[in-house]
């Protein structure tokens, strides 16, 4: 009387293919970033990348937007007849440097503030929270505009900072922007970790606070910090582009934002000079998002409101 049922594997295939799709996103992101970084690093050596200042001439003449996308200049030329592709690669160098630099600054300072606030609680936490709240109350872009706009004056007033280049100024500015969100996430994580039994165990073994923070809490913060840093990198790169677009970028070498800004008025004339830097920016941000998502899944981190 066995009523054998057809075994229902309903849904199993879906799970598998969804996993595969996510995997593809991650693979794509990694591949794009590897190729881009490789080109950016070795731009001067690679034969298919023109030098930064090389002009692509039409019959010996440097011509504004002389070429559209094609074989001669893969992604066309810009308004002073530079190769857009080469410029995008040099832009990548600049953009990635700024993005990574800013992330490191934000992660170090924000991470430290977050750990201290979360671990010690009390007045330390309250003081740090006020700073973080103030930073968060200002829209990020507004803060960035203010900071960058005033850097010349600051350099004049505090002469010790005079050696900073424009690129470094922007890196530091974006780094400051990243502090508050990082601090907030790290603090939340630390609050959770310090209640865990292994922290209590370490303290009951006679470990000092410093040791508890470095040996017990920090290693457990790494996955969250890496994940947030990768996702944050995407956001910072977009922010850099936006700043450059608003006229507060690095003039030389151009970043993608600067390129977009320079070409956007001629959008109807030469779409490629705007759209391709946009594409580079988009693909890079997308890659960081894919990788960030992959890491979040791998480390099982709930996405915090970054």
């Amino acid at each position: 009387m066995t009523t054998a049922l057809a075994s229902s594997t309903h849904g199993a295939a879906e799970v598998k293919s969804a996993r595969k799709a996510r995997h593809m996103g991650w693979m794509f992101g990694t591949a794009w970033l590897v190729v881009l970084s490789f080109c950016a690093l070795f731009a001067n050596q690679l034969p298919f990348i023109r030098t930064y200042d090389a002009k692509v001439r039409v019959a010996g003449q440097a011509k504004q937007y002389g070429f559209g996308p094609g074989w001669t200049a893969w992604l066309g030329t810009d308004n002073s007849s530079h190769d857009v592709f080469a410029r995008c690669i040099y832009g990548a160098r600049q953009t990635l440097f700024i993005g990574i630099g800013a992330t490191i600054i934000g992660l170090t300072v924000g991470g430290l503030l977050g750990v201290l606030g979360g671990y010690y609680r009390g007045w330390v936490d309250r003081a740090i929270s006020i700073i973080v709240d103030c930073l968060l109350a200002m829209p990020a872009l507004l803060l960035a505009l203010l900071l960058i706009q005033r850097t010349d004056q600051i350099k004049e007033t505090i002469t010790a900072l005079g050696w900073l280049t424009r690129t470094e100024e922007i890196t530091i500015t974006l780094g400051i922007l990243a502090i508050a969100p990082f601090a907030r996430i790290v603090r939340a994580q630390t609050l959770g970790l310090r209640e865990r039994d292994f922290v209590l165990a370490a303290r009951s073994l006679g470990a000092k606070s410093q040791r508890v923070i470095w040996r017990e809490i920090m290693p457990n913060l790494v996955p969250a910090m890496v994940t947030v840093a990768v996702t944050g990198l995407g956001i910072l790169i977009a922010a850099e582009g936006t700043l450059a677009f608003l006229g507060l970028g690095v003039a030389r070498p151009q970043t993608w934002g600067t390129m977009i800004d320079a070409a956007r008025d001629d959008l109807s004339k030469a779409w490629w000079a705007t759209i391709f830097p946009c594409l580079f920016l988009f693909l890079t941000v997308l890659s960081f998002n894919f990788i960030g998502d992959h890491l979040a899944r791998k480390f099982d981190i709930r996405e915090a409101a970054v």
Binding site: R196, D197, F198, L200, A201, A202, R203, S204, L205, G206, A207, K208, R211, R215, E216, P219, N220, V222
Partner: protein, 339 residues
């Protein structure tokens, strides 16, 4: 004094730990209210003895264990350990003193750092106190791991999540033994484990206790487990001690109504005994606003006016058997004279 008395504290014998009038309170947010987690309890443990502490959740048994370790420091009271007063020790002295007493926690997974290799976790105490060079440390740790039944080779390569709950508890035990402490506070060490694994861990604790000459404070909610491992048992209810007695006496002739209810509530794996008892009504009141008088009076079948107004003190009703109750129960086989 609001305490439940100190009649049960012993004067003779090698007293390793003596806790007097321990009070632990936590603020509730910023309301000005406080949780009276532990409200003036006194305990002592002789060297080599196992003291069991039982009670339901929220009775303050875990808080007591932690307050003895000064994690966090108790609100008031004295903790005398190996003749030294812990409550007014400086931070560094306290860290030093903690090496002589160790803790094992309820959740075996959570008490091990998930991002470190198991052997490093067990070596950590030695690293903190810089005892011995790395070869000596390693030899000692490997020997201990063997002793608790963990393969040192695997421990060197694996992180805690690669071990089962029971194995993680063994690792915790190994870690607690590395500094050669005299006292180990076991906070519900087997509650999260399956019965078959629970038996393994309990046997292991007994073996290690004998071998290393340990003194144990064993905190649990499972009376059968506590009875099995303890020499002397203290029953707690809502931050107070109700009854203290040698393990077998307590279970044979509980004198406090709460103890008796607790014993009757345990489901016995024997259909001929089971399902004949009546359950007690209600649940423990909030430790934020504990009832006056005897804290059990709201649920006690024998409560009278005196119980509602006057707090009972611990008194001896049989040899080494102490109870804090105005109307204690007298077992048939325990002849006593009431003062």
């Amino acid at each position: 004094m609001a305490g439940t008395g100190k009649a049960h504290l012993r004067t003779e014998g090698d007293v390793l730990l003596r806790v007097e009038d321990l009070v632990v309170e936590f603020p509730v947010g910023r309301t000005g209210l406080k949780v009276n987690a532990v409200s003036g309890i006194s305990l002592d443990v002789l060297r080599g003895e196992t003291l069991g502490v039982v009670g339901e959740s929220g009775c303050g048994k875990s808080t007591t264990g932690r307050a003895i370790m000064q994690l966090p420091r108790p609100t008031s009271g004295s903790v005398l350990f190996e003749g030294r007063q812990l409550t007014d020790m400086s931070g560094d002295d306290m860290r030093e003193a903690r090496t002589r007493m160790q803790m094992i926690f309820q959740d075996p997974i959570s008490s091990l750092n998930p991002r470190r290799k198991v052997r490093d976790i067990v070596t950590e105490p030695l690293a903190i106190w810089k005892r011995g060079n790395s070869t000596e440390q390693r030899a000692k740790v490997d020997a201990l791991l063997e002793e608790v039944g963990i393969d040192p080779q695997r421990a060197a390569e694996s992180q805690p999540h690669q071990f089962s709950g029971g194995q993680c508890q063994r690792i915790s035990i190994a870690r607690s033994l590395v500094l050669e402490p005299t006292l180990i506070i076991c906070d519900e060490p087997v509650s999260a484990l399956d019965v078959s694994v629970q038996a393994q861990v309990l046997n292991l604790l007994e073996d290690l206790k004998a071998k290393h000459g340990l003194t144990l404070i064993f905190i649990a909610h499972d009376l059968a487990v506590v009875k099995n491992i303890s020499d002397r048992v203290a029953v707690m209810y809502l931050g107070k001690i109700c009854e203290v007695a040698p393990s077998d006496d307590l279970y044979r002739a509980p004198a406090h109504h709460y103890t008796s209810v607790l014993l009757d509530s345990i489901p016995v794996p024997d259909p001929s005994v089971a399902a004949t008892k009546t359950a007690i009504e209600g649940e423990p009141p909030s430790p934020v606003l504990p009832p006056p008088g005897c804290r059990f009076h709201t649920r006690c079948p024998a409560a009278t006016d005196v119980c509602r107004n006057e707090e009972p003190k611990l008194r001896e009703i049989a040899t080494a058997h102490f109870v804090a109750c105005h109307h204690p129960l007298y077992g048939d086989d325990v002849p006593v004279s009431v003062a």
